[in-house]
Structure formats: structure tokens, C-alpha cells
């Protein structure tokens, strides 16, 4: 893959910015010579033709949701409606400066306020902050809230966070960044929280638990009410990782399950695009006892005007420069307004139907370690498929069929995991085709395993060597001359 540094470094590239219309003195006159850059950054000057062709070519080496099913478990790669992109790009929103006086940004504030209210309704919780900009950022905000809550109660000895062993890696990491230590709770044979093991840990050093509902196996925690009750009774708080909200939105609310903090991934459940890894938005909803600790500022309505409330003395402070990823919030709002109650419920209906339909079919070919009703996703294993064939092989072979592989090797409690989340935006026809290909690959695994080992052969590159990347790290372009 040729980089931009290998293209027309000496091309004519002027014409974007105007000539200076004020008398210019030059930088040295204003700043003195020693603040001035002695060496230009090695960023090539390229014509617009070259730039456009370069990035047009690069994008075609990618696979996105617009190219086909993207069944990455835990990531909810649903279709991203085009109207979202357009509402967020309206100049009224896109060109608003965060330092503008409230009276000049009433539209943005109204939208943030109304979205907050809708998210409260979806979560069944009394307050929401839009400041966190990703799921993990929401988790971290939640952990800050836990800390502040216990600080306010003088219970600073509560330093432990309990975590099911199926949890996503960001959960323990977020707890740790917020200064907590982590205790793992093993899953039981049904793939859910081992209640005994949980109870055994519950003492007054426990700040709380972080749960993913449904969990990363795609299984609903049937004992959710028992779990949250037990934690609450032990004086702890319950954090719900909302990555999997797509499976019950419009049907059930975390607030009714005992959640104290719940984070939304707007870039999953509410259809905003993933952008190749971001930006997202990780709104956080909280229960009554935590409301006062939410990040500052909060968006409020005062009579007919919308405003920013900076006067939150108990707040944890800020977790973002301004008010979160506002343009992402606009996309989510656009989506929710279109769906309405009916549409929200249709989302979870179809997400769960699609997953169960695929699970039912694929478990005939692949092993399904936890064979039960799933929610929006399910986890297969490639173990036992054929000797010497790994999940990585299966994934790479899918690429040869023009399909994006599922999440692999996660959750950690399933060996050789294939974590499949179709989402509601895939048609039955697409699901059938996907299943058919996975079935064909299972046959190939036995009859022509080399096809899997060698895969991909039809992608822009063959299988990439991770070891070379790690052993001989090259993170920046190696310019030839100084």
C-alpha cells in the first residue's frame, strides 16, 4: 500500500487559502527567530487530483457496512441511515462554536436536552449525561461516579469492582483507570453469573459490579434481579455496560433491572457510524442517588430557554472538553425520532430474531457451547471443526467470500470463539447466504484445509504477519533522506 509520502511530494498544491489581505511582517518579526520552525514537517505538497485518487483508492481497500453484512459480535454493526449524516452536517449544527453564548446555540441545546430525555426514557433512569464520547469513556465516567458516590458517603474502603469473566476488556481497564481493583466472577455452566461465587465476594470493600446485559455470550442474565439485589444489599452499586442494548431496546429498561449506571453506545444501538474505530458517543444514564455527581456542565431547560448548568458542586468534574460528541448525538436523535416506540421495539425484535435464526442454523455445523435462546448475538467455536484449523483460518476464509468475519477470540471464556451479531438491518436472504458460506467453509476445513490456512487470497493483501509488525515496529513512514 503506497502511502501519500510516496506520491508527488513536489507537486503544485497552492490555491486553497487566500493571499494575505493585511500588511504582513513575517513570523520572525512577530515572534523572534527562535520560536520559528527550522525544518518543515515532511508532509508532501500534492495536487488535488493526487490526493483524491490516493484516498479514493485507499477507501476501496476497506470493507464497510455499505459493502455487506458485518457480523462483528458486540459491535452492533447495523446499517447507518444516510439521513443521519446529513442532519449532523447541517451548517447550523456543524459550524457552531462551543464557546458561543447559549442564546446563539439554542438549537443544539434543545436537541441535546431532548435527546437526554429520550435516553432517560429508554434507560428507565432519571438522568443522562452526553459527555462521554465512547463506551469505554462511559464506563470510566461510571467508575468516577462510583468513586464520588462512596467518597461522599465516606466509604472510601470500597475499592473493589466485581466483573464476570465474560466481560469486555474495557470493563476491567476502566475500573483500573478510575483507581479500583478488579475481582473476576466465574460464569456458570449456563454462561451467566455464578450467583454463589458472586455472593461470596460481596463485602464492604466492594464498590459494585459491572455487568453486560445481555452478556457477551449474547445470553440474558436471567437472574439479573437477584444479582442486582444482592449487590445493592451489600451496599454496592450496579454498572450496566450497554453495548448490547440492541437486544432489548423498546422492551425492557436497565433501570427496571437495578442498574445504577448504564452506558449507551450511540454508535452501536442508535445507528451512528463507527467511522473506522470512532468517534462514538457513550451517553451515561444514572439512578437517583448518582444524579448530583454527573459531569459538569449539564444541559438544562429554564422556562423556554435551554442552558448549560455549571453549578454542580458535587460533580465529578468534566470528562470531555465540552459537551460530548454533539454531531454524533444529532445522528442518534435523527434515528430515534424516525423510529418512535414502534421502531425501537422492531429493532430488538428483529435483532433477536435474526440472531436466533442464524444460531439455529449454524449450530448444526459449528459447535455452540451455550445452546440456548440467544439475544442479539451468539458465540460459536471452531474447535472440533477440523484438525489444525483455527478460528482465524475460518475468519480469513470468510474474507475470500467477500464477507466481513465475526468477532474472533472473544469472549475469552470460549476457546476459538466466533461471536456473531447479525443486527436487525440484515435481510433473511443475506443471513442465508452468510450461513451457507460458513457451512461451505466448514466443509473446506475438512476437505481442503489449505484453502483456510492460505486465506485470504482474494483480498487486497494476503494474510498479514503480526509477528513482523510486533518484532520490528515501524509506526511512521521511514523517510529516506533527512
Amino acid at each position: 500500500m503506497r502511502t501519500i509520502f510516496e506520491r508527488g511530494a513536489a507537486e503544485a498544491a497552492d490555491g486553497i487559502f487566500p493571499a494575505c489581505d493585511v500588511p504582513a511582517k513575517g513570523p520572525a518579526a512577530w515572534l523572534g527567530a527562535n520560536l520559528i520552525r527550522s525544518k518543515l514537517p515532511r508532509i508532501p505538497n500534492t495536487s488535488e487530483t493526487t490526493v483524491v485518487r490516493h484516498y479514493t483508492r485507499l477507501c476501496k481497500l476497506n470493507y464497510g457496512v455499505d459493502d455487506g453484512i458485518y457480523p462483528l459480535g458486540s459491535c452492533t454493526m447495523k446499517y447507518n441511515p444516510k439521513v443521519n449524516e446529513d442532519t449532523a452536517a447541517l451548517p447550523g449544527f456543524a459550524d457552531a462554536h462551543p464557546g458561543a453564548d447559549e442564546r446563539y446555540v439554542q438549537g443544539s441545546l434543545e436537541l441535546l436536552y431532548e435527546l437526554t430525555r429520550l435516553l432517560q426514557g429508554i434507560a428507565g433512569l432519571p438522568a443522562v449525561t452526553l459527555q462521554p464520547v465512547a463506551g469505554a469513556h462511559g464506563e470510566l465516567t461510571g467508575m468516577f461516579l462510583f468513586r464520588k458516590y462512596f467518597e461522599s458517603r465516606g466509604e472510601t474502603q470500597r475499592t473493589r469492582i466485581l466483573l464476570p469473566d465474560s466481560a469486555h476488556g474495557t470493563n476491567p481497564a476502566s475500573a483500573a483507570v478510575a483507581g479500583f481493583s478488579v475481582t473476576e466472577i466465574p460464569s456458570n455452566a449456563r454462561g451467566t453469573v455464578n450467583l454463589e461465587a458472586l455472593r461470596a465476594q460481596l463485602d464492604d470493600t466492594v464498590a459494585g459490579i459491572m455487568l453486560t446485559v445481555p452478556n457477551t455470550l449474547g445470553i440474558f442474565e436471567e437472574n439479573i434481579l437477584e444479582v442486582t439485589r444482592a449487590v445493592h444489599e451489600a451496599g454496592g452499586l450496579c454498572y450496566f455496560d450497554g453495548a448490547n442494548l440492541n437486544s432489548f431496546i423498546g422492551r425492557a429498561r436497565p433501570g427496571d433491572m437495578g442498574a445504577d449506571v448504564f452506558h449507551f453506545n450511540l454508535h452501536k444501538t442508535l445507528s451512528t457510524p463507527h467511522g473506522g474505530g470512532g468517534p462514538g458517543a457513550g451517553a451515561v444514564a444514572v439512578s437517583e442517588p448518582l444524579v448530583d455527581f454527573l459531569p459538569v456542565p449539564r444541559v438544562v431547560k429554564r422556562r423556554d430557554r435551554y442552558a448549560l448548568d455549571w453549578d454542580c458542586p458535587k460533580s465529578i468534574g468534566s470528562v470531555h472538553s465540552f459537551f460530548g460528541n454533539v454531531l454524533v448525538a444529532i445522528k442518534a436523535y435523527t434515528y430515534v425520532l424516525q423510529l418512535g416506540d414502534e421502531g425501537l421495539r422492531a429493532v430488538s425484535d428483529n435483532a433477536v430474531l435474526n440472531a436466533n435464526y442464524l444460531q439455529e442454523r449454524l449450530k448444526r455445523t459449528y459447535t455452540l457451547p451455550y445452546d440456548r435462546l440467544c439475544k442479539h448475538e451468539f458465540v460459536l467455536t471452531s474447535e472440533g471443526l477440523a484438525k489444525g484449523v483455527t478460528t482465524l483460518d475460518v475468519a480469513k476464509r470468510l474474507i475470500d467470500y467477500g464477507i466481513h468475519p465475526p468477532t474472533v477470540y472473544f469472549p475469552l471464556i470460549v476457546h476459538e470463539a466466533l461471536m456473531i451479531e447479525p443486527t436487525e438491518t440484515e435481510s433473511r436472504e443475506t443471513l442465508d447466504r452468510f450461513a451457507e458460506i460458513l457451512e461451505r467453509i466448514a466443509v473446506e476445513a475438512r476437505e481442503h484445509p489449505e484453502l483456510l490456512h492460505e486465506a485470504p487470497t482474494r483480498a487486497p493483501v494476503r494474510r498479514l504477519d503480526q509477528t513482523v509488525a510486533a518484532r520490528n515496529p515501524v509506526f511512521t513512514f521511514p523517510f529516506e533522506t533527512e
Binding site: 501519500i4 497552492d14 487559502f17 487566500p18 493585511v22 512577530w30 520559528i36 520552525r37 518543515l40 514537517p41 508532509i43 508532501p44 505538497n45 490516493h54 485507499l58 481497500l61 476497506n62 457496512v65 462483528l72 441511515p81 447541517l90 457552531a96 462554536h97 462551543p98 464557546g99 446563539y104 438549537g107 469513556h137 476488556g169 474495557t170 483500573a176 483507570v177 440474558f220 436471567e222 473506522g276 474505530g277 470512532g278 468534566s318 470528562v319 470531555h320 472538553s321 465540552f322 454531531l327 436523535y333 435523527t334 430515534v336 424516525q338 423510529l339 430474531l353 435474526n354 435464526y357 442454523r361 435462546l373 474474507i399 493483501v461 504477519d465 503480526q466 513482523v468 515496529p473 509506526f475
Partner: protein, 440 residues
């Protein structure tokens, strides 16, 4: 619902296939009391046409975009070449996720590699990651990283950081149990290097700082002992300014909004994070590295993942997962579009125009600049009269100006910070001067 392709007939057929008689059955594992407690939003579905109309109404309710901003403080009204938008909005880029499968993500990965290179070049550092949420969280992560490296429990922070930068590192440091020690500023508006505390893991400075003043980084690193030097910077200014790396900075962070992102009422933003190779293991966030494929051809992949939470869980360098990938892509395309030459040109335009305005204001009766340190494209004006009233006058004239509270919060009462970008025309600047001078 056209976002859900299956029609009723499909659903019925699928239910039959899995031996269920209704969709409700699929939710039997949710406890009944939870189902019963559910309440709808009382929100009727609306058509695309209606929702677009409603969102247009809200966008039109924002008056800010119709006004001329003199606002800065980390987010600026810079020009975005139109090709940037066209390329960044290619759906192959924005509808993809994190490049977990590198073979069908070479677009995203090559761009990450280019981004890392460009940010390293701009900041004068050896390596950069693939982005953080924003400049403020990047700075907070820098503080945590320095503390992990030096472990003194204390970090010194210049008192002239943007308030939002300070607010965010306060939160992160509080939770991590890191003590933050203020370093005051001089009458020039610069961090007072004579008053550095001892026993710190790092010193945090921002340059240009909250007053727009460029810090004196020369020789600073040498005075810090084993403490790391963390610099928060304004990448567009580095089109002409000597980069922090040239002064020995250990970690350079910055807000990348100026590199082709809309202001967007403050988000999404783009956190830049660059450091020295020796600190790679402590670097938060993702990085792309170069490698070869099975045929020996060059390609790119995410690497150094042993630092990340997927593998190290609670021992990871950071909890960040989703970052600002698409903003980084936009910045990469922006930088490729303008090139080093264009970046220098736009930085010079900012510098010259800001100084043109500042010089004119300084000559007005009743106005002075609050600081005499060198500045880039924003500066602080101190009127002899009431700053609030001056702001009102400017706003009545169609401008947008920050509240004087912003400066007051930093200990500079009755003062206004004004930012000037390449988009401001001489005519606009002259109008500012006229208004301040009391003409019309």
C-alpha cells in the same frame, strides 16, 4: 421500517424455522417484572421528510453560524478544503469499524499509519498513536502515563491551560490519586519557570496557552530533572512554530479540530498523542504498524496490542477502545490536501491577521493587551471599561465573543480573549476595531 429489511412474511418463516411461535417467545428470558415495568416513550414514528424538517428547524435555531466568530480557546473557525469532506465521507471509511481484520481494512490502516507519521512530523516526536477522544482527555492520559513512568504521585500543571483541559485532568488525576500542583504565570502570560515544584512526575504546559501566548520551551526540559515534559499544543500553529519535540518534550498532546474538523458545538474532536519511542510500552491507545503479508508485500496492521485492554485488561495502559479514528482520517486528508506548504501558509495567515487586529486594538484609547508574550492567533484584550459591555457591543455588531468569565476563571478579570483565523477578512477586523473604538 425501511432500516429493517425483513417483511412480516420473512419473520413468520424465520420463526417457523427456529420452532418459535412468536417474537415474544424470544424474550422469555427477560424476567416478567422487568417486561411489565417497561414504559414507552410516547413517541410516534416519523418519516424521513418530517425528521429532516424538524432537525432543520433546530439547526436554524442556532444563530451562531450566521455570526462572525472571534471565538477560540481550543476550537477554531478554520477553513476546510472541500476535497477533505468528499474523501472523508466515502462510506467505505465511515461505515467500517476498527480494523480488526487488517486484510480488508488496508484503507483505514494505511491512513492510520500516515496519520501517525504526520503527527510525529508536526510535533517533532518519534511516535504518535492513532488518536484519543480529544485534546483534554489526551492530556489527562499523558498525566497518567507520566505518573506510571515516574511514580512521584505529583504532577505540576501550568495555571494557564485552557479551563477545559484543566477540568478534565482534575477529574482523571483525582480518581487516580495523583496530586496536581499549580505553576503560576508571569506578566508576559507565560508559565513561571522560576516557580517549578520539586518531586514531580511531570510538568504540564500548554503552548500556545490559554492566553494565546507561546511558551518558552527552550531549555525547559533540562531544568526538569527526571520529570517528564508534557506539552499540549495547537497543531495548526506548528505549521510555523518550532515543535515541542525540538525542545525535548517527552509527551506532546493536542486538539486536532483545527485540522479539517467542523466546530460541531465542540464534538467530535481529535486528541493527538505523541511521545518518544522509549515510552512506547506506556503509550495509551491504538497504533498501526507496517508489516508484510504472506507474499512478502508491505501492508499495515494494528500492533503493540499487548498494551491494550483486550489483552491486558485491568493492566492496560488505558481503557480507550473506540477513539476518534474518523477524525484522524479527516485530519490526515486535510494535511495531505494542504501539504507542509499550505499548513505554513494558513498558519502565517492566522499569525498576521491576529497581529493586525491586536496592533490596531492596542492603539485604541481605552484598550491594552493583557500580556506581552509572543502569541499566535489569539490574544487577551483588557478594556478600561467593562469587558461585558464591550462584548455586548461586538455581539450587537454581529460578532461572537467569549464571556469575560473565561479569563476571569484563569485569574484575569475584565478581559476578553479574541481569536483570529484565516477566515477573518480585513474588513471584518476593521469592523471590530471600529466597534471597539466606538465608531457606529
Amino acid at each position: 421500517m425501511r432500516y429493517i429489511p425483513n417483511a412480516d412474511a420473512d419473520r413468520q418463516a424465520m420463526l417457523r424455522e427456529i420452532g418459535r411461535s412468536s417474537i415474544d417467545e424470544l424474550f422469555a428470558d427477560i424476567p416478567q417484572p422487568v417486561i411489565d415495568a417497561h414504559r414507552p416513550l410516547n413517541l410516534l414514528p416519523r418519516s424521513e421528510l418530517e425528521v429532516l424538517d424538524e432537525l432543520t428547524r433546530l439547526a436554524d435555531a442556532n444563530e451562531a453560524p450566521g455570526r462572525v466568530p472571534l471565538l477560540g480557546g481550543g476550537v477554531y473557525d478554520h477553513y476546510i478544503p472541500r476535497a477533505v469532506h468528499h474523501l472523508a465521507s466515502r462510506s467505505e471509511f465511515y461505515t467500517a469499524y476498527t480494523p480488526y481484520q487488517p486484510e480488508i481494512s488496508q484503507g483505514t490502516l494505511t491512513v492510520m499509519f500516515e496519520f501517525q507519521t504526520m503527527i510525529s512530523e508536526l510535533t517533532g516526536m518519534e511516535i504518535a498513536n492513532a488518536s484519543m477522544y480529544d485534546g483534554a482527555t489526551a492530556l489527562a492520559e499523558a498525566v497518567l502515563m507520566a505518573e506510571r513512568i515516574r511514580k512521584h504521585g505529583r504532577v505540576a500543571v501550568a495555571a494557564n491551560l485552557f479551563s477545559h483541559n484543566r477540568r478534565v485532568i482534575n477529574t482523571y488525576a483525582w480518581a487516580a490519586g495523583v496530586e496536581l500542583v499549580d505553576v503560576p504565570f508571569t506578566p508576559a502570560g507565560r508559565c513561571d519557570l522560576a516557580r517549578l515544584p520539586e518531586g514531580i512526575s511531570a510538568l504540564v504546559v500548554q503552548s500556545p496557552n490559554a492566553f494565546g501566548v507561546i511558551e518558552a520551551l527552550d531549555g525547559l526540559k533540562a531544568r526538569l530533572g527526571d520529570a517528564l515534559l508534557i506539552v499540549a499544543t495547537y497543531p495548526l500553529a506548528l505549521g510555523i512554530l518550532e515543535p515541542p519535540g525540538a525542545f525535548g518534550a517527552d509527551i506532546v498532546v493536542g486538539e486536532g479540530q483545527c485540522l479539517g474538523l467542523p466546530m460541531g458545538y465542540g464534538g467530535p474532536l481529535l486528541g493527538l498523542f505523541a511521545t518518544k519511542k522509549e515510552h512506547l510500552r506506556q503509550l495509551p491507545g491504538r497504533v498501526a504498524g507496517r508489516t508484510v503479508d504472506a507474499d512478502g508485500r508491505l501492508g499495515y496492521t494494528m500492533t503493540a496490542q499487548t498494551r491494550e485492554q483486550h489483552i491486558r485488561r485491568e493492566k492496560a495502559t488505558s481503557n480507550i477502545c473506540t477513539n476518534s479514528a474518523h477524525c484522524a482520517l479527516t485530519a490526515t486528508v486535510y494535511l495531505a490536501s494542504v501539504g507542509a506548504g499550505g499548513l505554513r501558509q494558513v498558519a502565517l495567515l492566522n499569525l498576521e491577521k491576529a497581529h493586525y487586529l491586536a496592533a490596531k486594538i492596542e492603539k485604541l484609547k481605552g484598550y491594552s493587551l493583557a500580556f506581552d508574550g509572543p502569541f499566535f492567533n489569539e490574544f487577551v484584550v483588557r478594556p478600561s471599561g467593562d469587558a461585558g459591555a464591550v462584548r455586548e457591543r461586538l455581539e450587537a455588531g454581529g460578532f461572537l465573543v467569549e464571556s469575560s468569565q473565561t479569563m476571569a476563571d484563569l485569574g484575569v478579570p475584565n478581559a476578553l480573549r479574541l481569536a483570529v483565523t484565516e477566515r477573518r477578512t480585513r474588513a471584518e477586523l476593521d469592523r471590530v476595531v471600529d466597534i471597539l473604538g466606538g465608531k457606529r
